[in-house]
């Protein structure tokens, strides 16, 4: 379980995250939603120690994130940030093998390569595993990065806007994989996501942030309510139930 207790982060005088407390349940998909600038990505980065917090405590399985050794934490928490525009010429296989670095420190054992192969198979990248990343489409590249995170074999997988710039087909593909990670491998997935309907269809738990505070949190059924979403996004909308999924209609 990830416990965030009274955590704050300020840039200058502005509090980007203001006294936030939230618990992220184990073995579930938790989505962070909310308007732009609500502090979702900052919170995710703080949980994964990429950004230092100013106040409060963050515990993962009862252990303080800042006190944990970075090397050990890398075996427990993996984070993928949204802008992975890199100009290095690496093959998919090489990229995925980086996921084993916390275990191998660069010298991959047979066991490590087995994990790499599995991750590649899991993301169905076998045919193109020797292609360079800069030759891939957006969807393939995103799958390659997720394969790396799978090879890292952490209990917690944190993804910052994994659907950014992806078309419908690839978005669904990625979300299905995340669902499988939770259902089949028992991982805990936390994502920052803008598409409220993807959040509704695939997550178990939703945390809504607004102006650096938790506006509301709850299960999908609790959160996919007209009144709740109106307050968060400040626009009119309707919630319809289609095939047992709650869909938010907000386009007009």
């Amino acid at each position: 379980m990830v416990e965030v207790k009274n955590v704050s982060k300020r840039y200058g005088n502005k509090a980007v995250i203001d006294q936030v407390s939230v618990s992220i349940p184990k073995g579930k998909i938790t989505s962070f939603i909310g308007p732009n600038g609500a502090g979702k990505s900052t919170l995710l980065s703080m949980i994964s120690r990429l950004i230092a917090k100013d106040d409060g405590e963050i515990l993962i399985d009862g252990e303080h994130v800042n006190q944990a050794k970075s090397k050990e934490l890398a075996k427990k928490v993996a984070i993928l940030k949204q802008s992975n525009h890199l100009n290095l010429r690496l093959t998919i296989r090489e990229l995925v093998s980086f996921g084993r670095f916390p275990y191998s420190q660069g010298k991959l054992s047979r066991e490590d390569w087995k994990h790499v192969d599995e991750a590649i198979r899991y993301m169905e990248l076998g045919d193109i595993q020797n292609k360079y990343i800069d030759q891939l489409s957006g969807g393939q590249r995103q799958r390659a990065f997720i394969a790396m995170v799978i090879a890292q074999d952490t209990e917690y997988v944190l993804l910052d806007e994994p659907l950014n710039n992806l078309d419908m087909k690839h978005s669904v593909q990625i979300m299905k994989v995340l669902r499988r990670l939770v259902n089949e491998l028992g991982k805990t997935v936390v994502i920052v996501i803008h598409d409220i309907n993807f959040a509704s269809c695939y997550s178990d738990y939703i945390v809504a942030l607004k102006d650096g505070k938790v506006a509301k949190e709850g299960t999908v059924d609790e959160m996919m309510e007209c009144q709740v979403l109106k307050e968060i996004y400040e626009i009119d909308m309707k919630i319809e139930t289609v095939n047992n999924e709650k869909i938010c209609v907000y386009f007009k």
Partner: protein, 316 residues
């Protein structure tokens, strides 16, 4: 390109390099050399060959490490002010301790090169507009500022001629007793190899490296120390060799990719082969006179550099 072709080219050119020169020595004489010929081989030909190979390898690898750490293909010791800082350092050591020993010169020049490279990386952090071509331009300007400072003091202390010696790389001055400092580069190459994978991870960005539990700052610092020290050693013993750290890694990247673990040995070999080739051309083209290596590499290198720039445009 296979690694064994590079190794073969290196061996052939090395043998060629040993037998080219004003004093005629042919492979047939190898087992009954006169005293004079033995002297030439041990005092001049072999030191020259060794220094060419080490300088070629270490400058190319410095360039490769810098490109990965700065995440820019066109950054190298030439285009980031490293060589210019080292030169300024040598000048300062000459002014401060008039009869500086090679080790003293090395230490001061190294500190300058390190400070200069760090400063460039800091400037890089501050620049918002991270265009691939813009960054090396900033580095060139930075290097030119350092050079003008150096020139100013060189005029003042009457050291212009001394300075000119390091402006242009020249292997004809390399004789035994004057190049041994270069051997310090060999352990640096070994460290570079050990850290290869870490440099690539650091090149993926700080967040990416941190996610994998890598101590980003330490890896970057180790990389910059290797770069600054190898560049200093080459400038001190041979002089500036432009473009080398720029073109060799870029050529290797095209056919070998950017995983340092895979490309490092290719880069080292190709660097040595390239310098050796340029050196031989410089020695035979106006035989029995010589063109300094700085000039040959500069001419051939700038041609290749232009080609790489055009290629990049076509690629985008």
């Amino acid at each position: 390109m296979k690694k064994r072709y590079l190794v073969m080219a290196l061996i052939v050119l090395s043998i060629g390099s040993l037998f080219i020169g004003v004093t005629h020595i042919s492979p047939l004489h190898l087992f009954n050399l006169t005293d004079d010929q033995t002297q030439i081989v041990w005092k001049s030909r072999i030191p020259r060959l060794v220094s060419i190979i080490i300088a070629g390898m270490s400058l190319s690898i410095s360039g490769l490490i810098m490109q990965q750490l700065s995440r820019n293909r066109f950054v190298s010791p030439t285009t980031a002010g490293t060589l210019d800082s080292a030169r300024l350092g040598i000048l300062v050591s000459l002014i401060l301790f008039t009869a500086a020993s090679p080790i003293e010169k090395m230490v001061v020049a190294f500190l300058f090169a390190l400070a200069g490279t760090f400063l460039f990386m800091k400037i890089l952090d501050k620049i918002k507009f991270k265009d691939t071509v813009f960054i090396p331009l900033v580095g060139l300007m930075f290097g030119n500022i350092l050079t003008s400072i150096a020139t100013f003091f060189a005029y003042k202390y009457d050291l212009i001629q001394n300075m000119a010696a390091w402006l242009q790389g020249d292997f004809s001055m390399v004789i035994s007793g004057r190049y041994e400092l270069l051997y310090i580069s060999i352990p640096l190459l070994v460290i570079a190899y050990i850290y290869a994978e870490r440099f690539t991870l650091a090149g993926m960005g700080e967040d990416f490296a941190m996610n994998l539990g890598l101590n980003y700052k330490r890896v970057v610092n180790i990389g910059l120390v290797i770069v600054a020290l190898s560049a200093t050693l080459v400038v001190l013993t041979v002089g500036m060799i432009p473009f080398l750290g720029l073109i060799i890694p870029n050529i290797v990247s095209i056919y070998q990719g950017d995983h340092l673990k895979k490309s490092l040995s290719h880069t080292a070999l190709l660097g040595a082969v390239f310098v050796l080739f340029c050196d031989i051309i410089g020695r035979v083209i106006i035989y029995p006179y010589e063109i300094p290596i700085g000039l040959t590499v500069g001419v051939i290198g700038s041609g290749i550099f232009l080609y790489l720039l055009m290629r990049r445009k076509a690629y985008e």
